[in-house]
Symmetry: C2
C-alpha cells in the first residue's frame, strides 16, 4: 500500500534539499521499480535515474526515460549485447572497477555507434566492489579514455561514508592532474541523505532510493520518522493462538527476511511495541507487548524492515490518499534482477 | 535453473517411498508455484495438492487441478468470497484453529452450494497456528460438524515433530469417541520426510514441498545430497576486488535473505568451500576458501538456502537436461501471497 501524499512529500522534500545545497539528484529506481514514481521524481527535477541492473534500465528506457546510470560492472556477452541495445536508445552510464572489463564495454559501445559514459567505481569503505585507493581510481580513469567509444564519466561510490569525501577528492584531483575532465562525482545512500550537502563540492550528484518510501531501517537511521513512511504491507490477523501471541498472513514472501534493524521483521502500526519475532513464508509470528492487542480478523499495516526488497515481491502498489484507494501502479521492473 | 532429470528423480523417489509405506502424498506447490511441476507430481500419484494461500489455489484450479488443501485460517470477507468461488470449481479443504472462524466458512460454503472440508489445525510443537492440546482439537472437530455446509476433514499439522504422533493419535481417538469419522490425519515437512512412514498408521497423508528441488537447508537436514539439488541460481562473477574476495551479480533479490543454515547465503557449486558472507540487493559478497578461486566473468551456480522463497522471485524456470536448455516453465503463482 502506497500513501500517495506521503510519497509526494518525501520526493519533494529531498528535491528541495538538493536544490538548496546544489546537488544533482539521481534517484534509484531499485526501491520502487515503478515508472509512475520515476516520472514524479524526474518531474520534480531529478537529473536522471539510477538503476542497479540492466533489466531495470530496460524497463525505464522503454517508458521513455533517456538518462540512466547503472553503477554496476557489466560483464559477459549477453549483458554487453543488452547494453549496446540500450545505448542506441538512451544516454547510459555504467561503472567499472577493473580495466579488463573495458574492451568489452568499448566493443558494445562501438556496435551501438554511441559513446558510453564509464564512471570509476570507488570502494570508500563498504568493501563490496570498487577500486580500493584513489591512485587506482585515477589510473583506471586514464585507461577508460584510451578506448575510443568510452567516455570517462567521473567517480561513483556507495554509500557516502565519512572517508568518501577525502577518497573522492583525491581521485578527482588525480584525474584532473592527468588532464581528464571529471564530469561528476556521485555518492549515495538514504540513511545519510540529510548530510549529503557536506560532501559538496567534491560530490556533485547524490543517489537515494529508499527515501521515496522509507522503511524501518531508514527510520532507525534517523532519515525519517514513522509517520513519513509511504509504503506499508497490509495484513490480516489470522490466528490468536495465545494471550500474547498473534499470527499475520504476511510472511517472508511479503516482508522478506531482511533482518535490519534486528530484532523484528517490521513495525505493526496498530501494535508498534509488539515484535514480529519470526517469519515463515506466509506467517508472521507476533509477540504482543503489554498493553497492546490484536483481534482475530483485524487488518493491520506493517512497515517493513526494507522497502526495496518488498516492492520486488509484488506486481502492483495499491495507492491510497486519505485512506481511500485511488489507484494501482504496476511495479514495472519487478523481478528484473538480470 | 531447474535440472529436469534431478527434479523427476526427486519426485519419483518420494512417490515410491509413499507407495511403499502406504502414505498419501499431497505435495506443496509453494516451493515451485508451477503448473508444469504440479502436473508431474499428480501424474506420479499425488492424491492432490497443497497450497499455502488462496492465490496459489486459484492458479492451480485455473490449470485444472480439482483437489486442493489450503492448510490456513481463511479470514475476512474478501478471502471468504474467493474461497466460495473456488469451491464452486473444485474440492477444497481448509484448516482452522478457532471456532469463531466457522460461521464465515459455513456461509462461504453455503453460497457455493458445496460442502467445505475443514481440518483442525494442530500445534504439535512449532508454536505457530493450531490448537495446543488434543482435547481442544477434538472439541473444535465437534464444532465443525454443527455447521451445515462444513464437513469435518480430519487433523493437520506441520511439521511432523516427534510429539506429533502422540498428539494426533489422541486427537483422532477423541473425535472418534465423539462419533466423528476422521478422513485424514495430515503431517508434513521435507527435512523429516524419510521418516514419515514412522508416523503411520496415525498419519495417513504427508505434505512435502522443498523435496522437488531441495536446497542448502534440506541438504543440511540430511534429506538430500548436494548432487540431488534440482534448482540453482545462475550468477556471474562481476568483481574480484581482492585476492580472497569475489562479488556475484545475485543478491537478496535473487537468493533472498533467508539465513538457514547459517552462516552463508548458499553454496557456490564451483567454489563449495567458499562462503557468501553477505548480500546486498544485487550483490553477493564471497570470501574465497583456500584453494578455491573464481574468475572475473565466470558463470557459477548457487544452491540457495531456501528454494521456496527463491522461486517466488522469478517469472520462469530455465529448464536444463544434461546441461542444455530444453524448456522454460512459468512460475505461475509467483507473488500470489494473498
Amino acid at each position: 500500500v502506497v500513501d500517495a501524499d506521503r510519497l509526494d512529500r518525501n520526493l519533494e522534500r529531498w528535491q528541495a534539499y538538493c536544490d538548496r545545497v546544489d546537488l544533482r539528484s539521481r534517484p534509484h529506481v531499485k526501491t520502487h521499480k515503478c515508472v509512475e514514481i520515476a516520472r514524479r521524481q524526474v518531474q520534480l527535477g531529478a537529473a536522471g535515474l539510477t538503476c542497479q541492473k540492466l533489466g531495470e534500465a530496460e524497463t525505464m528506457v522503454d517508458a521513455g526515460f533517456d538518462d540512466v546510470l547503472v553503477p554496476y560492472n557489466i560483464v559477459g556477452a549477453a549483458k554487453l549485447e543488452r547494453l549496446a541495445q540500450l545505448l542506441e536508445r538512451a544516454t547510459i552510464a555504467v561503472s567499472v572497477d577493473d580495466a579488463s572489463l573495458l574492451p568489452g564495454l568499448d566493443r558494445a559501445a562501438s556496435r551501438s555507434g554511441r559513446q558510453l559514459r564509464v564512471l570509476v567505481d570507488c570502494d570508500t569503505g563498504l568493501g563490496r566492489t570498487g577500486v580500493a585507493r584513489p591512485d587506482d581510481a585515477g589510473a583506471l580513469a586514464t585507461e577508460i579514455v584510451r578506448h575510443e567509444s568510452l567516455h570517462f564519466g567521473g567517480f561513483v561510490t556507495y554509500p557516502a561514508l565519512p572517508a568518501a569525501r577525502e577518497f573522492l577528492g583525491a581521485a578527482a584531483a588525480g584525474a584532473e592532474r592527468a588532464g581528464l575532465e571529471v564530469d561528476v562525482v556521485s555518492a549515495g545512500g538514504t540513511p545519510a541523505m540529510w548530510s549529503a550537502g557536506e560532501l559538496r563540492p567534491v560530490v556533485g550528484e547524490y543517489r537515494v532510493g529508499t527515501y521515496a518510501f522509507h522503511d524501518r531501517a531508514t527510520v532507525a537511521a534517523g532519515a525519517a520518522t514513522l509517520d513519513e513512511v509511504a509504503m506499508t504491507v497490509a495484513a490480516t490477523v489470522v490466528s490468536r493462538p495465545g494471550d500474547r501471541r498473534a499470527v499475520l498472513d504476511a510472511g517472508s514472501k511479503s516482508l522478506t527476511s531482511d533482518l535490519a534493524p534486528s530484532p523484528g521483521h517490521g513495525v505493526i502500526l496498530e501494535a508498534p511495541s509488539s515484535t514480529i519475532v519470526r517469519l515463515n513464508e506466509e506467517h508472521a509470528y507476533v509477540e504482543l507487548a503489554d498493553g497492546e492487542s490484536l483481534e482475530l480478523g483485524q487488518q493491520v499495516r506493517v512497515v517493513p524492515n526494507h522497502a526495496c526488497t518488498v516492492s520486488n515481491l509484488f506486481d502492483e502498489f495499491v495507492v491510497v490518499r486519505d485512506g481511500d484507494v485511488v489507484d494501482r501502479w504496476r511495479v514495472d521492473a519487478r523481478g528484473r534482477s538480470r
